[in-house]
Structure formats: C-alpha cells, structure tokens
Amino acid sequence: MIERSKILLLSALLVCAGLSHVAGGISPYYFDILIGIGINIILAVSLNLVNGYTGQFSLGHAGFMAVGAYASSWLTLKYGSSIGSGTLSTTTVFVLALLGGGLGAALSGLLVGVPSLRLKGDYLAIVTLGFNEIIKGVIQNAEPLGAQRGLGGMELHTNFFWTFAFAAITIYVVLNLVGSTYGRGFLAVRDDEIAAEAMGINTTKYKVLAFVLAAFFAGIAGGLYAHFKQFIHPEGFNFLRSVDIVVMVILGGMGNTAGVVVAATLLTILPELLRKVAHYEWLPDWLQQVAENRMILYSLLLIILMLTRPQGLFGNFTGKRNQRLQ
C-alpha cells in the first residue's frame, strides 16, 4: 500500500519535471494561473488536515503563508547572491530557503497549536484569526521586512516543477498520514474527541501535529508565492486570503483530499473566468459588478453549500457515514 503510494509520488514528480519543460512556453497569463493553482492546492490540502481530517477550525492559514513567504524571501535576499552563481547553487539556496520558510511557519504553527489544546470550534477560529492579525501586525512593524512598504527584489525561482512537486509531496504526506494507523488518531479526534481520549489517544498531540504540519506546508506555499510574484505585502496575507483557502476546503469537502484539489483548481480559475464575464457589456451593470466582486459569490457559495450540501461539492465518505448514523 505504502509502496504503491511512493511509486505514485515518484511518477507524479517525473511528470512534473516533464511538464515543466512544456509549461515554459505557454502565455505568461496562463502560467500565472497555473502556478496559482499549484500554490492553492498546497494551501488547501494542508489546511484540510486541520479543518477536515482533525475537525478543528483554523481561520489563519494565510498567516502561516506570510511567515513562510517572508522568511524564505529574507533568506534568498540575504544568501542568494553570496553563494556562487551556478544554477545548481541558486536552486539549492531557493529550496533551502523554502524549507526554512516552512520551518519558520511550522514554529508559529506550534505557537498557535498550544492554545488550541483548550479551545474548540468557534473559539479556535477566532484565535487563529487573531494570530493571523498578529503576524500581519508584526510584519507591518518590522523594518527589515519592508514593514508597510512590502518586500521586493526576490528573484524569480518558482517554476512549474517546484510548485507541483511540492503540491504532490503535500498530497502524499497528508494522504499517507491519514491513511496510516498512526493517522487514524486525527479522524478519532474529529469524530469524537472525548471518546478518543477515553480510548487512550493523545488528542493534544494529534491536534498540535496537525497544526504544525499544515503550517509547514503553508509556509512552503508562501515561499513559492513570494518567489513567483517577486513582491509581497502584509495585506496579501489578510483574513480574506485565509477565507479563500477555507472556501476551497469546504467546497471540496472537508476531509476529502481529491475533492479539495479539484476545488482549489476550480476556485483559482473561476475568478479569472468571472473577469471575462465582467466585461460582457450586454449584462446589466450590477451583474457585471457582482461578477467582478468574487467575495460576494464566495460568501453566497458558503451559505448555500452549508444549507444544502455541507459535505462539500464532492462529498466525503466519512461525512456521509456520520449523517447516516444520525
């Protein structure tokens, strides 16, 4: 079972490497969307570990993304030029910086994970939101990170290969973790925390682990984002960005990785399609404006999904089972 997933991961990486050569040739706009899809897949799949599999609710994923983005940018800006000029070494510096950003984010995930031990649901959502704001606030006051001006000057390192390789790794890690005996603990925490504890499962450990892992991958995504856009600003990692990711997880179905991957892809393409719609002049004015304002549609999507299909567009096996039990 595990062997097969390893082979799948390897072949996914090979496909990424192969496609990477082709991807360079497409229109920069489509390439931008493509990289956006990859980054959103990493974000949504990792958040799904917390919000879906472990049944916690984090509203601060963009905060971890910010930590990764700023930490990795700081690293490449500081060490990028000092080490050789060969392609290999700059790539190595980039990947090391990505991992550094991921670790920084994981550390902040640990900080959020600890208070989360005592909190649930609504409270946890607000605390993670608060952490998102605090992280933003710290960056806004940090002169070396560009404070309110934003940070620029990073070189373009993010390409098709690294983006989708990390997306594949994220999916691999999350699926394998949840599929293993060890990872059953996550599901136990979600399904009934008290019962899980009674069965001798260390719920605290699982919750913190979920947070730290999710934050790590969000940090990687942040690093990829920073080295693609080449300019980052604290406002790019605000509450609305976190909501974006939450919507992807909910649309895909909490605890359904395949669904979340599809949802992340759809929701990255959708705003770009809506951009087109907004230019159809035969549409009434207000409809054009609605199309232009994706948050109106996202919020309606959230409400309607919750009222009619809380398990998400693509459903989720455990969710269905729970419903049947009820």
Partner: protein, 312 residues
Amino acid sequence: MVDKLLEFVQQLLNGLSQGSIYALIALGYTMVFGVLRFINFAHGDVFMLGAFAGFYIGPKTLALFGTGPSYPGMFAVLVVAMVLCAIIGIVIEKLCYRPLRDRPKLTVLITAIGVSLFLENAGQLVFGANPQSFPELITDRALEIPESWGAISGLTITVSQVLVFGITLLLLFVLRYVVMKTKLGMAMRALSFNPVAASLMGINNDVIISFTFGLGSALAGAAGILISIQQPSIDPLMGVNAGLKAFVAAVLGGIGNLPGAALGGILIGLIEALVVGYISPNYRDAIVFGVLILILIVKPTGLLGTSEREKV
C-alpha cells in the same frame, strides 16, 4: 505632574466612551451565544447596517422634529434603526441559521462567516465603497467645565461622549429588566440552561431564539447610531473591526454572561486608549488579540463567566 494626571484621566474618559460602544455590540454576541451556543460572526455587520439605516432615514426623520439637529429627532432615528436591525437580525436567523440548528457547530460557524462576508461585500455594492458622511443628529460640542473646579476644567468631555455613555447605561438596565423580570426573559434563561427541558415546559424555542436575535441586533443597531454621532464617517466595512473587538470583549467578560459583556467592552475600550496613548498605536490590535489569547489560555470562561462541564 498635574498635567500628566489630567492626560491619564482624559485617556480613561476616551476609552470609556469607545468601550461603551463595544459593550453594546458585545451584548449581542453574548446573548446569541447564551441561547444557541454559537458565535454570530455577522453581528458586527448588523452594527454597520444600523449606521446605514440612520444614514438613510436620518435627514427625513430629523425633518419631522423641526429643522436641524435635535434630541427628539435623534431618539427617533435611534429607535427606528434599532427596529430595522432587529428585523434584519430575525430574518438572518430564520433564513440562514434556523435550518442548521441540529447540524454540527462548524456548519453554523461557516454559514455565519458567509453571511458576514456577504453583508460586507453586498454593502459595498449597494451603499458604495466610499465613506459616507453621517447626518448630524445632535450638535456635538465640548462641555464647559467651570474654571472654579480647578484642574478638572482642563479635561474635555463632549456631549456625544456623555450621551453615548448614558444611552448605553440605559439600554443595559432595560436589557437587564427584560432578561430578569419578564416572562420572555425567563424563557430565554430557561432555553439557555437547557433547550430540551425548556421546550418540554411549553416554551416555544423558535420564538425565543427569534426574540433573542432581534434584541441583540437592536442593540447593535443602537451602537451603530451612537458611534456615528461621535464619528460621523461610515462605510460598509466599519463592522469588521468593531465586531472583532466586541467579540474579544464578550470573551473577556465571559461569553454568555450579560454583565460580563458590558464589563469586557469597557475594559477593551480602556486598554485600547491606554495602549495608544502610552505605548504605540501600532500595537493596539496585537495587544487586544493578545489579551484574548491570554484569557482563553488562563481562564477560558472569562472574568465573570462560570465554568460549564463538557457533556458527552
């Protein structure tokens, strides 16, 4: 020395008037949490709608009471905005939360976030994104403190500050009366204690929940008008920050506890004023959220809350 002391007292006064606005909004969070055990994320946006209700009805209502700003006119606007917000609150509950009552808490929370985002963005579309100037309901001015009172005359207290504080106190007493002395209030408390038992006692839970939403939203609407008298610039996103601060206030005081929400609101107002005045405005939000996290770790039930055992 006297100067420093005066400045300190002035900061406290500033914090008090801002805090009483937070208190009014926090009461709504706490009441809804009391009966439904969930956080109505959209509550801050009802506060925004209250301000816009005043913006649209203000000039016409004032005209009914003569020309220019007047106190009866202001009270009329206040009452109408409260009624409108109560209706909005009841409609939101009926459309979005009631169908989900037996679903997991998370489902309701996500819906509430959806409602909140919808109100903010639809607000930008309908009211326009630009800040609007709120009509002058009363003429705001600084109170004259006679020189003979000594150093105190150096303090500045404005009419609107006194008014906001006074109306907040009044509403608090009205609310306390409704909750403690009326039948509806008794039913609310019963429902909060045990919904199943309450309905067995012949209480119509739906009616009580609607009533609670209406009452909480009316208070938010009142807060929307009161803040606009002090700070007459309103925009569709004004509820975001105020809502979050009020939520922190509700948790600080002990969510589900009415006096706690009022106390929490005032405390947050004071903390903000002191941080801005003596530390740095840059850290205001971070410190408020820090307080929230600290209180959740040290005493999750809040200052006045009582602990509740988790049942299997």
